[in-house]
Amino acid sequence: MSALTDSRWLKPAVLFAYSLILLITALAFYGLIGFDGASLQTGLLTDPYILQILSFSLEQAGLSALISVALALPIARALHFMPQLWAKRAFLSLCLLSFVMPTLVLITGLVSLLGRSGIITPLLPDNFNLYGLNGILIAHVYLNTPLAVRVLSQQMGHIPDTSWRLAQQLRLSRWQQFTHVEWPAIKPSLLMLLGFIFVLCFNSFAVVLALGGGPGSTTLEVAIYQALKYDFNLSEALTLAWLQFTLAGLIFALIARMGKLNWLSADTASQRWQPGLGRNSARFHLGLYYLSWLLLLLPLLALLPTVMRVDLAKLDLPDLVSAAGYSLLLGFAAALLAMLLSWLLLLPIRSASLQHQENRRILLQWLATHTLVAPAMVLSTGLYILLLPRIDLEQWGIFWLVLINSVLLLPFVIAQLKPRVLQFDQQYGRLSANLGLSPLEQFRVIWPFIRPVAKGSFALALLLALGDVAVFSIFGDNNTMTLPWLIYGYAGSYRMAEAALASLLLLTICALLVFFFERHQTRNPNRSADNHTDQPGS
């Protein structure tokens, strides 16, 4: 519907938004290419060291995705088939917290738990080593299994009661119910989750930087960082960046083709009737549920004993408070900008969707969210190199810090907002067009409909921005620290107690935001919106 962008100022604004995000990526690559004659070195693609890194990147991402989804499936089934589970809502919130938790907080927790002098390390086999593939997989599975649990349990919630009733009427066995009812409902989400988690782990930076051990456990993203920071080999960084961009881009394009991944929407479906589990199956699922609680809480609880060791006399509390304040300030700015850009970027995607122009929708969606596959390190470094001789980055660094962070948040914000606005268009698109609403009126009409999701998206963007390490490592100011950077600094100088305390503070802020996020995801302005939350086709 052209009415969506049919205004004097909206069209240029949309064009500006698309130009901005594409220009940032283009300029970043140009920055790398343009500096000191750096060029693509195709010969590197057959270098055994690079092949080893590529192979490890693919291996850890593939394993992380497979294990995360395989673990998530039975947990999601437990949540679905046992609606009376104790603290089910709190568990879903914990899942969200685990997914958005700043990586450095998790790493601090994992080191306290499983590191060389970790709390439960004595109970583990002698040859266990957190550093290397083990640690990377543990961290990736910890971060991504909860995401998969939320997606799959939500997807199961969409199975209509009538299907379950019919399955009972037809006396289908539990296995037949799984293959005929459950599997068709979750199969698209499973495939997309595998792809999505693969891309996230393929591009993983902080986990691999902290827990990777030597060249045998390095990913492309970290290799790019090392090529830039230690070797200052721009040609190598550029080649690796293109390699990563191309591979992740191909996988991401595949995801876009597969359709929608409404991966964080509130689980508001109220199942009125579904079959229960058999006695043994129920025991297994219940056990798994409580085990999941324990595993998700352990790295967080492990922070506490380490925090107790903090020497309060030596603690620089003002540093901690100002880092928290600065993190929140940067996060707020980046999240706000990401929301504004997402809204503009979504307008032509909505038009294409309304006009059933599938290829155009996919292309626009890819462009709008391509930063999911553009390495954050490359974006930051490329722009830094390009801007350094031209702009006073001491003064303007914060602007670029916010801008790059907000661009990196776009895939997540758009994934959150898109299903709801498309639902609005599907339900009310024709009515809006027939009423000839102005852009302002359109916004006033759609806002109450999307308000809970919009607020939740903002909180999510803020949470993700709070965890940034990669962009701050390039554009950050050493005099004004963010909390993750402070944690990184403490951990780097073996001040684990301070690192744990800072992590606990960051975790508390994140937990409060998750509370806010969940409240707004499930609370709607009136019951009518509730009625339609889970009925995209209505």
Partner: protein, 223 residues
């Protein structure tokens, strides 16, 4: 697709003039799910036409094409000499009542009523119309608190009171009981005529057509 037209007695010259200012659907072809639908009809300005026909024959598709929600493959739709097919939906002089989803569920009934006007009618005008249709006590509620028939009448009020000259009603009384149906049909006929609206009504009920329309067009499958 063939048509049966019952013309009311009208002065021929004046009617020809009104036809020129009215709606001319000229060799319109729409393809829906692989099926070709063809339409040819003329409607004088200020005239009320009822369209009837079996389910699936393309009645709603015609309204949706006139309103700009379905693409025509060929043909013309002239309104006052201007081809509407060249205009996007939101610029057409059309006010349409859909079979469903006529109200934003998350906005109050009164807010819904005021949408789509550059200068909305006064609350008193809405109340008067709502009173005539027995929904005066529903104006401050949310659509979810209303029955299907009440929603339909609220949608009908807004559709008729909007300034657009061409009104399209897609089964407007489907959810109403006999008594309310009678009342709503009369209100529609009186309001449309008093405001000089040109109206197309899709209905399965002969009595709706008789109460509102000047003539009836029956859409049928070709061949």
């Amino acid at each position: 697709m063939t048509e049966t037209i019952k013309l009311s007695g009208t002065d021929a010259a004046a009617y020809q003039d009104a036809l020129q200012k009215g709606l001319i659907v000229d060799q319109l072809e729409v393809v829906l799910d692989g099926y070709k639908l063809n339409y040819d009809l003329q409607l004088a300005a200020g005239e009320c036409l009822a369209i009837q026909g079996r389910s699936g024959v393309g009645k709603s598709t015609l309204l949706h094409t006139l309103a700009g929600f379905e693409q025509a493959r060929s043909g013309r739709v002239l309104w006052n000499g201007e081809d509407l097919l060249r205009l996007p939906a939101h610029q057409r002089p059309v006010s349409m009542l859909f079979q469903e989803h006529n109200l934003f569920e998350h906005l109050s009934v009164m807010t819904n009523l005021k949408l789509g006007f550059s200068e909305p009618p006064s609350r008193a005008q809405f109340e008067e119309a709502a009173d005539a249709l027995d929904v005066a006590d529903q104006l401050d509620k949310f659509p979810t608190e209303l029955s299907g028939g009440q929603r339909q009448r609220i949608g009908l009020i807004r559709t008729l009171l909007r300034p657009e000259p061409l009104i399209l009603l897609d089964e407007p009384f489907a959810e109403l009981d006999q008594h309310t149906r009678h009342k709503a049909a009369l209100w529609t006929a009186v309001t449309a005529r008093s405001q000089g609206k040109t109206l197309i009504l899709v209905t399965h009920q002969d009595e709706d057509a008789e109460r509102i329309a000047d003539r009836t067009l029956e859409l049928t499958y070709k061949g």
